[in-house]
């Protein structure tokens, strides 16, 4: 995207006001998506977005400017704006010399999406539509979305780093509405991989559609969710989002540094039940939160955050790590070249235990079984969270019984960690997610085995 000479000159210009650090992040993103709704392929959309973000750090102040003009003049003007923003300090020029560009360790993509015809992409949508509608006369509405994106990026900084990555992601989702005597209910299924079109060797879109339809149909016969505090069993892959939101965010070093985390100052302490090991791992090939390098040029890594119940480390970006005099953990990410990087998760999961999943349910007298959690929200400073349940059932006398309609789970992240009292041996990753923080969205994965939280508040309408 940019040659070394221009990169050197731009970085030198950015450092001219005596900055401590300067960085160029260049990104070239192209995407294709197709959307079906109401029996029609409503549209096929293609997009192209390319530009450069320049960051200059002086003391504790960061200046940032971005531009879609990637000519040398465009870069110079962005560099000037960023360094002016970070002003302070005196003059003094500092030459910058980046090393030779390391060839991108291109993520293995067997079938690049740009080499697949739009016809084939659209055919996935119509196949899903037909399969969902064929699942039952009560299915009254179906929508499906296909999306692929290729993101080429290049990062160079004043410390000589010069590296690049080529990230390809593919996504498919189906949503159904079922209509019955009790009104309308919805069901959804989605899958996403850091991979090309070969993703559909792993995922049969018709099977995904039938699963989404079954969720909606099941809910037509569902009872209102109960309310009150009770044991909650979460199915494999269904609850990782809870630990992402309610625990993961609190382990991000930027929030920890501002004391906006319940986990601040607790390294080495027991923060979870002894059986719990929580990991964030950007190296899991193919998973939705996977990448070669993060958006600061650091390689993705596997980071153990909680080991056998003890808090071992936080996640770090470059800025926070530099202050603490330690390396980044490869968690510096940004939504696009128009955004500053910050500490973000990748694939976050709780490792499997050794209990037979069926025994966990059988051992629960009365409670709720959550097969799929919905989105949620968390206050990282207090750890309080709220999550929707998109597929859930009652547990009565050790058996999974009636489906229940959507209600929320509400609780406190640190408390939940200490209240986990069973972990299954059936680990699975969950649905692909987009994690939002400070207005920036990035793709993340999560996973869990079947697990039980001894007591959690369920907020339903059945009093």
């Amino acid at each position: 995207m940019l040659d070394a000479e221009i990169v050197n000159r731009t970085l030198a210009a950015a450092m001219r006001t005596g900055a401590d650090f300067a960085e160029i992040f260049a990104e070239d993103k192209s995407s294709t998506s197709a959307f079906l709704d109401d029996g029609r392929v409503e549209e096929v959309v293609t997009g192209r977005d390319r530009g450069v973000g320049i960051r200059v750090v002086t003391g504790d102040t960061t200046g940032f400017a971005h531009t879609a003009d990637i000519s040398e003049a465009g870069l110079a003007s962005a560099a000037a704006a960023a360094s002016a923003a970070a002003r302070q300090g005196g003059g003094g020029t500092r030459a910058v010399e980046v090393s030779a560009l390391q060839a991108p360790r291109r993520l293995e993509v067997r079938i690049p999406p740009e080499e697949v015809s739009k016809d084939r992409k659209v055919a996935l949508l119509t196949a899903a539509d037909a399969a969902a509608r064929g699942s039952g006369a009560a299915i009254t509405q179906v929508s499906a979305r296909y999306g692929d994106g290729r993101r080429r990026l290049l990062v160079a900084d004043s410390e000589g780093l010069f590296t690049s990555d080529d990230q390809v992601r593919t996504l498919f989702s189906v949503s159904c509405v079922a209509t019955g005597d009790t009104g309308m209910q919805t069901g959804r299924e989605s899958a996403g991989r850091t991979a090309g079109f070969e993703m559909f060797d792993l995922y049969d879109v018709e099977e995904m559609a039938r699963r989404a339809a079954r969720r909606a149909l099941t809910k037509l016969t569902a009872r209102p969710a109960p309310s009150g505090t009770m044991p909650v069993v979460v199915g494999p892959g269904g609850g990782g989002v809870l630990f992402h939101e309610a625990c993961g965010h609190g382990l991000e070093a930027d929030l920890v540094a501002k004391s906006a985390s319940v986990f601040a100052g607790r390294i080495g302490e027991k923060v979870a039940a002894e059986m719990v090991t929580l990991v964030d791992d950007g190296t899991m090939a193919g998973e939705w939160g996977h990448y070669g390098i993060d958006d600061e040029g650091r390689p993705a890594a596997r980071n153990v955050l909680i080991s056998d119940g003890v808090l071992t480390d936080y996640m770090w970006d470059r800025l926070r790590a530099r202050k603490e005099g330690r390396p980044s953990s490869g968690n510096g990410r940004r939504q696009s070249y128009q955004h500053l990087p910050m500490v973000r998760m990748t694939n976050t999961f709780i490792e499997a235990g050794d209990t037979e999943p069926a025994d966990i349910v059988a051992d629960t007298d009365h409670g709720v079984y959550v097969a799929q959690l919905g989105g949620g929200q968390v206050n990282t400073a207090t750890g309080d969270f709220v999550f929707g349940m998109t597929e859930a059932y009652l547990i009565e006398n050790g058996r999974i019984t009636s489906p229940i309609r959507e209600g929320n789970l509400i609780g406190n992240g640190p408390e939940v960690l200490t209240r986990i009292d069973a972990l299954g041996d059936d680990f699975a990753m969950g649905s692909p997610g987009t994690c939002g923080k400070d207005g920036q969205g990035v793709p993340v994965g999560d996973g869990t085995p079947t697990l039980r939280v001894a007591a959690l508040t369920v907020g339903g309408t059945a009093a």
């Binding site: 029996g39 940032f64 971005h66 879609a68 704006a81 969710a225 004391s259 919905g374 369920v458 309408t461």
Partner: protein, 449 residues
């Protein structure tokens, strides 16, 4: 400047349309500044301008769309060609098309303040620093300010269609927002405060900082009560969030596609008699005011619910054609990267006569809900099921009492609207597509311990 205007750019692209092909081009330019203060220093300062074009092509009833984040000639051409190619793959839809002029004149709205452009960077920095100072000084229990931010944008947009639409708009906006941490012993709570305006002289750092401190400290010592059913009073900010969800259920798109719980309910009583809901982007007080919608049609006042009776749905030009009605000027879009869709611009409830304090005084056992969370996950706009995390103050014998946290309130959208007992007099516009006002709702389940 020698650069062509955005409208000229849009019209130029539309001019490439061949016979039997409809084209819509939407061009936008946005300049923004963002300053963050932390511990008396500038933590970060961002400045940038971005531009982009979105091109929609409808050919033989098939729609395609493409976008790009640049406006040079080559990019415009490529984007147009991509959109044309993408149109080959859409399904035939007899109602597909772009907007055409409907004779409704846009209401003149002055949403642009040149003062913003002349406001120096140092003064933006000062505002962010002042905000942090005020929030910290407001209460000794405030232990930190996680974010103290000043941000502004200058937005210009233009939309043109091959059917004769040629509209443009420009507006300025700025805001201050603070997120605070407050502590008492081991307990920590958070709060936020904000102030919005079209130019910096309209911003109130004092109020934003104090609100952020107040929101963080008022919940210190909060406990989780036991489950019961009671009357809730929603704070204006909470009501505005609820209205945004109700607005989504009234979209013509949801109605046509069988996803609205209010389909076929026109002229039915769907809410308490005290409830009158309109969507009106022509109200200059609304933060989301706009003279034209995302397809270039004039916005207008749309009465949705009058005295509890459902009167209308929201339509853009596509859904209007399909339903055999006129567009209500309700097209919205999330920037140049997306096609227009139906959405509310500026929802507002007709205010009642009594203040929040007067409403609370009439409640024996209730819950003043000051914040909700998880609305996105806990509310199903199709089924109407509603469950949200909530925090606020218990109401006992007509007065606000102890703080409450970690509870959920649950009902259905249908029942919430019917169970409204009173709308407050305290209407305020917020930085979202709905105005806030206090709202009392009877018989809501509050789940706690």
């Amino acid at each position: 400047m020698s650069e062509p205007s955005l409208l000229e750019v849009a019209e130029r692209v539309v001019g490439w349309a061949s016979d039997g092909c409809d084209v819509e081009a939407y061009a936008a330019r946005e300049s923004e500044t963002e300053v963050r203060a932390y511990q008396g220093e500038v933590e970060s300062l961002t400045s940038a301008t971005s531009v982009g074009i979105g091109v929609r092509v409808v050919r033989s009833g098939r729609q395609g769309f493409a976008y790009a984040a640049a406006l040079d000639e080559q990019t415009l051409r490529q984007t147009f060609d991509e959109a044309l190619d993408n149109a080959r793959f859409g399904s035939v839809d007899e109602h597909a098309g772009v907007a055409e002029p409907d004779g409704v004149e846009p209401v003149p709205l002055d949403l642009y303040r040149s003062e913003l452009l002349e406001f120096p960077s140092e003064d933006k920095v000062s505002l962010a620093l002042e905000l942090e100072r005020v929030a910290l000084a407001a209460d000794p229990r405030v232990t930190g300010v996680e974010t103290a931010e000043y941000a502004d944008t200058v937005y210009e947009g233009a939309v043109a269609t091959s059917r004769g639409i040629a509209a443009q708009s420009c507006e300025t906006g700025c805001y201050l927002v603070a997120y605070t941490l407050a502590a008492d012993g081991d307990e920590t709570q958070t709060g936020f405060g904000f102030s919005v305006g079209r130019s910096p002289d309209e911003l109130a750092p004092e109020k934003a900082g104090k609100d952020a401190a107040e929101r963080a400290t008022r919940l210190l010592g909060a406990t989780k009560p036991s489950t019961c059913r009671l009357t809730v009073v929603l704070d204006p900010y909470v009501t505005a969030q609820l209205l945004s969800i109700v607005g989504a259920t009234l979209s013509g798109d949801a109605v046509l596609k069988g996803r609205s719980l209010f389909a076929q309910r026109i002229d039915d009583a769907v809410a308490a008699e005290s409830l009158t809901l309109t969507d009106d982007a022509t109200d200059p007080e609304a933060f989301t005011a706009s003279a034209i919608d995302a397809e270039g049609l004039a916005t207008r006042r749309v009465p949705l619910i009058s005295d509890g009776v459902l009167r209308a749905f929201l339509y853009d030009s596509y859904t209007a054609r399909r339903a055999g009605v006129s567009s209500t000027g309700s097209a919205v879009r999330g920037g140049f990267k997306g096609t227009p869709s139906v959405g509310a611009h500026a929802l507002r409830l007709k205010p009642g006569r009594r203040s929040q304090a007067e409403i609370v005084a009439g409640i024996d056992d209730g819950f003043l809900v000051q914040g909700v969370s998880g609305l996105q996950s806990g509310v199903n706009a199709v089924s109407g099921d509603f469950s949200a995390g909530a925090e606020g103050l218990r109401i006992r014998r007509g007065e606000t009492a102890e703080p409450i946290r970690e509870v959920t309130i649950a009902s259905t959208i249908q029942r919430l609207l019917m169970d409204v007992t009173e709308v407050g007099s305290d209407l305020e516009w917020l930085p979202m597509s709905a105005a806030g006002v206090s709202l009392a709702v009877a018989d809501v389940t509050m789940s706690g311990a």
